[in-house]
Each structure stands twice: as C-alpha cells, then as structure tokens.
Subunit: 92 residues, 10 copies
C-alpha cells in the first residue's frame, strides 16, 4: 500500500558541518537502499523549505514506520504519514 509522507528537517542550525554532512551522506545512502527495496518510490522537495514530500510503498504502517526510522536524520525530522487508497481509475 502507498503512503504520502511529509518530513520537516529540524536539525539545529548550530550542528557542526561535519556532523551535518555525515548525516546527509548517511541519509542519501539509506534513501537509495529504500528506493532499491521499492519502499521509497518518489521524493520531492517542498520549495523554500528543508522539507520533503515522498511517495512510499510498504506492507503496512508498521513496516513504513521501520523504514522511516531507519533514516539517520529521522530523530530530527517531524514526519506525517497519510494513507492513500488506489483509485478505481488505476485499478486494472
């Protein structure tokens, strides 16, 4: 099932650059793994913000929760999840 996931990154501004860079690198690597696993299907930036909108697919909310919390930035992110139902126009 698919979910629309919004994240706001609240990492403090005074985070040292090397810590921030290491987190970003880990974030990108973990996101890539989630893409390869078919869990992260699309990702957009909210223009002007350190925030994203993502389209995820997971077996259930618990599996989605595990995927999201596996992101190194997760503990600094405010995340909201919205379930999406397949539209009849796309059932076939």
């Amino acid at each position: 099932m698919e979910f629309l996931v919004r994240t706001e990154n609240l990492l403090p501004n005074d985070t040292p650059d090397d810590v921030r860079e290491q987190l970003r690198k880990g974030e990108r690597e973990r996101a890539m793994q989630l893409r390869e696993a078919g869990i992260l299907k699309r990702l957009w930036r909210v223009p002007g913000r350190n925030a994203t909108v993502g389209l995820y697919e997971a077996d259930d909310p618990a599996a989605l929760h595990d995927a999201l919390t596996s992101l190194p930035m997760w503990k600094w992110m405010d995340v909201t999840v919205e379930p999406l139902a397949t539209h009849p126009q796309e059932r076939s």
Copy 2:
C-alpha cells in the same frame, strides 16, 4: 492493518423521520456485517455529538474505503482515517 476512523453525521435535520429511521436501521445492519467480517472491531460515540470513533481492520486503505462507503449513511458522513502501526509492546 488497523485504522482509527472518525465520522461526523451531517444528515440534515429536516430529513423525514421515516427516511432517517430507515437509514439508521440499514446502518446498524451493515455495521453488524462489518463486525462479523472482522473489519469493524470497536465503535464509540463522541459524547455530545452525532459522531463516532471506530477501530477498523482492513487489508489496505482501498479495502477500508470500500467498507466505509458501503454504509448507507456514508454519503452524509464526514469521515477521516488515520493509519495505526502495531506497537512493539503488542508484537509477539
């Protein structure tokens, strides 16, 4: 997977009594079927309101949507759905 479902019943106050009663009867019957199918697990009233909080279980959001729209009152209800993830304390 489980969902928390809120409904507000917006059936107009000037609905004739027999129409209203027929809808309520159909609603109870359909709810009973959803209980027997294991889809509607618990139902509460929001005190003071013509509104409910329900605990549902369905295979995915599309199946939940089909169950909710099968309720005769659905077209007069404002419905919001929240996905729930199993808590590790309850996994076993």
Copy 3:
C-alpha cells in the same frame, strides 16, 4: 513541473442520480484525456472520503489551472495545489 493536487468533491447529496452519473462519466473521460496528455500522472483516493490526491505535471500554474477547470466536476470541487520541486536525489 509537478504539482500535488487535492480535491474534495462537494456535489450536493440531493443531486439526481442521472446528473451525478453523467458527471462521473464525463469526469472519467476527461481524466483519461489528461492522463494521455501526460498532465495527470497519478491519482489516489483519500480513504473514507469523496476526495483525491493527484500528481500532475504542467508547464506552469496557469496550464494546471486550465486542466483542472476542464474537469466536469470542477465547479463542485474544493481544490488545493502545492508545487513540488525535483529532489536532487532524482535529478540525473
């Protein structure tokens, strides 16, 4: 550019069935045309509601506006549009 588009269908409950059915049929046909034109890329139902979340692509907000208002149901829909920026992870 891509947009996230939410719609709530506010068609009155007392709309005659044939009018409603004609609108739905026209809606599906127009949506199909927008898909073929590459404007409507994905469409989901908000579970429990007569509402959708859609992913659209259009040259600019004016073109998106024209596409949305070409839907026969548009005048009964409450629509909100959110611009999406390509995420660097997906640039290549």
Copy 4:
C-alpha cells in the same frame, strides 16, 4: 470508562543514550503494569512519529491522570485525552 489518549514524545535529541534507554525500560515496565491492571487496553504507534495512540480504561479522569503521570516518560510527553462513550451497538 474508556479514553483515547495521544502522546507525542518530546525527549530532547541530545539526551544521553543511557538515560534514554533507562527511561524506555522504565516506560515499558510501567506500561506492562498498567496493562495488567486493565488500564492500558491497546497501544499503537503513529507511523513515522515518536508518538502513540492508546485506549485506556479508568474510573474517572483523575484516575487516568494518575496512571499517565506514573509513566517515567510523562514529563517529556505532550498528552491529549478524549473521552469515549459506549456505542449502543456495543451495549448488551
């Protein structure tokens, strides 16, 4: 009487790991006691968040307050409580 209880865990991110782990352990133990006492009946995670939805039963709001404040994490939690009325479908 039953209550729907939402919690958001606001424990600061820079809490030392051992303090955090001790709090989590105490939280699990106290939650288990509340389950055994029939006060905590169900607990879910809000997917993507350090947050929960719980179904509690207590004699009155003061007893519920005492149960919630007995949780070691309580002072870092933002908690909201909603009273639930038994639905006639479930009275028997």
Copy 5:
C-alpha cells in the same frame, strides 16, 4: 465525574417564532430537570453568541451523552465535551 460542555446553537434564522419559542421552553424545562438531577451544575452564556459553556456531572460519557441528547435543541446544537479531573487542591 465533571465535564466542561460547550454548545453553539445553529437553529436556522428562518425558524418560525412559535417553533423557536416552543423549543426554548422545552429546553428550559429539560435543563431544569437536569439541574435537579445534579447533572447540570452551572451554565454560562458565551457573551455575544447563541452559545453556552456548562459544567456537567455524570457517571460516565455515555450518561452525559444521554443527558445532552435529551435537550430538545440538541439536534441543532454543535456540542463539544471536555473531561475534567479533580484537582488535588479540591480533594479532601
């Protein structure tokens, strides 16, 4: 247990005067009965509005719901209920 109850009266402005007056009279009589039964303890007007704030006491939310829905105006009222816990300063 005590509850804080807010009501907004949404009776349409074009309600005939005799219907309105009959509803008001019935409302006052039922409110008086709820006072005598110890369920309605205090009632205030929200200044400037056709709205009230009330302090109610009932055994549980279901009993409160029954009391509120017994008011003749109930079907035109938007009602919200908040549970109140006895404060230690008032326990004795």
Copy 6:
C-alpha cells in the same frame, strides 16, 4: 464577573527539584489565598497534562490579571482567559 481560565505549565523539565518544589508550594499557598478571597472558585486538571481549567471571579479583567500574575508559577504559564456571562437560567 466570572472567567474561565486555562493554564499550561511550561516550567522546563530540567528545573532543579528544590526550585520546582518551592514553586509548587508557593503556588498552592497563593491559590489558597485566592480561594479565600473568593477569586478562585473552582480548579480542575486537564487529564494527562500539566494544565488546569479554573473558574475565577473578579471585578474586572485587570483585577483578574493581577490575581493570575500573583501566582509564583505565572511566568512559566501559558494562560488564556474567557469571559463568561451569567445565564438567564441562573439569574434570580
């Protein structure tokens, strides 16, 4: 005149225990004085929160402000005040 007063206590979690205890003690003593002066008439806890709902009586908003700011915890409290009008049912 009567006021409904809500407070949220925002005292930081890392406040030393002795400071916190001294504030609480002062708070209780001052609240007792306000009760004796007929200003604080009822006080409830918002279940699950470090928050209260209170019923106050004062000559005017300025007198109420002086009473509230005389509480030792005031500077850490988020306070909202709502004026209440005597309901005709209670005038006599």
Copy 7:
C-alpha cells in the same frame, strides 16, 4: 470594563433589498443609542469584508451580551468577544 468585539455579518445574499435596508437602518439607530449610552465607544470596518471591530464598555459580560443582542442584525452576525484589561500605562 472594555471589550474588543468582532462581528461578521452573515445576512444571506438573497435577502430582499427592502428587508436589508430596514435592518441596516435599525442597526444604525441602535448603534447610535449604544454610543450615546457609552457602551459602543469605537467602531471600525474590517477592510474588504462585511465585518467590524468594535470597542465596547459594559459593566460585565452579561450587560455586553444584552447590548449586542439588541442590535437588529445580531441574529445574522457571528460575534466574538475579547476582554481587555486596563494597561498600567493608562491607569492614573
């Protein structure tokens, strides 16, 4: 004591012109009386809206309520009232 009073005029657009004009005339006359009685002290328009912000003075919220409900347009107005406390800079 002084109050800040906001009104939104919700008189339906299809109100006959003569009814609307009669209401406006009555409204102006009653407002003038409230000014002369020292109850209505200032009145502004919210630019772009059929809405006002007013500064009122009344002995208590019940007296303010009586003044506001004496306005012929009252039953079509959405009114909110905010109590104001004299600022020490203006006490003398």
Copy 8:
C-alpha cells in the same frame, strides 16, 4: 500604500448562466477601471480555485474597502486584506 488582497468567489453553483455571465462581465469592467485608476496593480489566480491574489494600492484601508465593494461580485466574495510595508531595499 499597498495591500495584498485574497478573494474566494462563493457564487452558488446554481446561479443561472446569464446572471453569472453578466456578473463576470461587470467584474472585468470594474477591474479594468480600478487598474486605470492605479488601485489594482496586479492580479493572479490561485491555481485550481475560483480565487485570486491581488496587489492593490490605495490611500488607506477605507479607500481600499470602497474599491473592493465596488466590484459586482463582492457580495459573493470572501475577502481578506493584508497591509504591506515598503521594504527598505525598495525605498530610494
């Protein structure tokens, strides 16, 4: 001085086409006059909605109010006005 003005057009869907067209024509003509008078400086559509964002210039809020209420559609529009201050970067 400049104002940011938002409008939502709430003209009922069942308005006869000729009435609607006459209103639109009058709206365009009046808007053109406001442009020529230097009052309406820019106008955008909110994509997907029957709504606009406009940049207006007027001597004061009362003059802006008069301009907005001179639009034939005004009585069906929900309008909000935000004052804008010249930014030092643009003073010269």
Copy 9:
C-alpha cells in the same frame, strides 16, 4: 490610518532582573513618546498574559513598522498588525 496591533512578549524567563527592568523602563519611555506623537492611541493588556492589544495611528504600514521596531522590547515580541477602516458611522 489606524491599526490594531497585538504583541506577545517572549523575553526569556531567565533574563536577569536588571536587564528586564531596564528594558521595561525603556519600553515605557518609548511608549510615552509614541503617545505624545499621536502614534500610540490606546493600549490594553490581554488578561492573564504578557501581551497587549494596542490602537495605533500612522501614515502607512512602513511608518507603523518603524514605530513598533523602535520599542526596546521589539526584538522579543511577536507582533501582528491588522488594518482598520474608518466606519461610516464615524465619518462626519
């Protein structure tokens, strides 16, 4: 033109008393100057809060901005400004 100005004072609670007192003194002095200049016309306290509602008059929003930012407390204040239009009842 007149403006309704709301301020919330967010000066941290741990501000040293002498700093706080100096700011308050400067605030009172500057407010007095703004009164004498006819810019600050009325000021009220929001009861229970470290917050004010004020009635200001200035040539335009930029002049109002300059007046507000000249207050020594400004950088700790959350300020919102609402434009007010003269009501026809007060034009003469």
Copy 10:
C-alpha cells in the same frame, strides 16, 4: 512563472551584532543579485514583524528553491511558497 514567497526570520536574538550585520549585508547583496537576475521582482515587509512577502519569478519550483537557499539568512528563515497563475485579465 511567479510565486508568492513569505519569510519569517528566526535568527536568535542572542546572535552577536557583527554576525547579524554580516548576514544582513550578505542578504542585501544576494537579494540585489536576484533582482538583477529577474528572480526577485518585489519585496515587502510584514509590518511589525521580521518577515517579508516577496514576488518571485523562476522557471520552476526547483529553480526557486535554489534561489531562496542561496540567501545567507535562509537557514534561519521559515519560508512558505505559493504558486501564482497568470490571470486572464493580464494575458495579452
């Protein structure tokens, strides 16, 4: 395409004056470059706040995002972006 961009500057109050001044200087210079590039078309202050409303033009949301994040103050700014569609009155 054009965007309405709102910013709230959240730079902490205890930022040293020289850091703040350097940021402001860099901000002005970068804003000037964005003006010259035709990206920043208008900028206003929200009166009373350390906040702005801006009119931007960019090829797409990603280009706008790049422009906004190039501002030295960006990491301390809360930014919201709203897409604007050309109004037919301005097409020609």
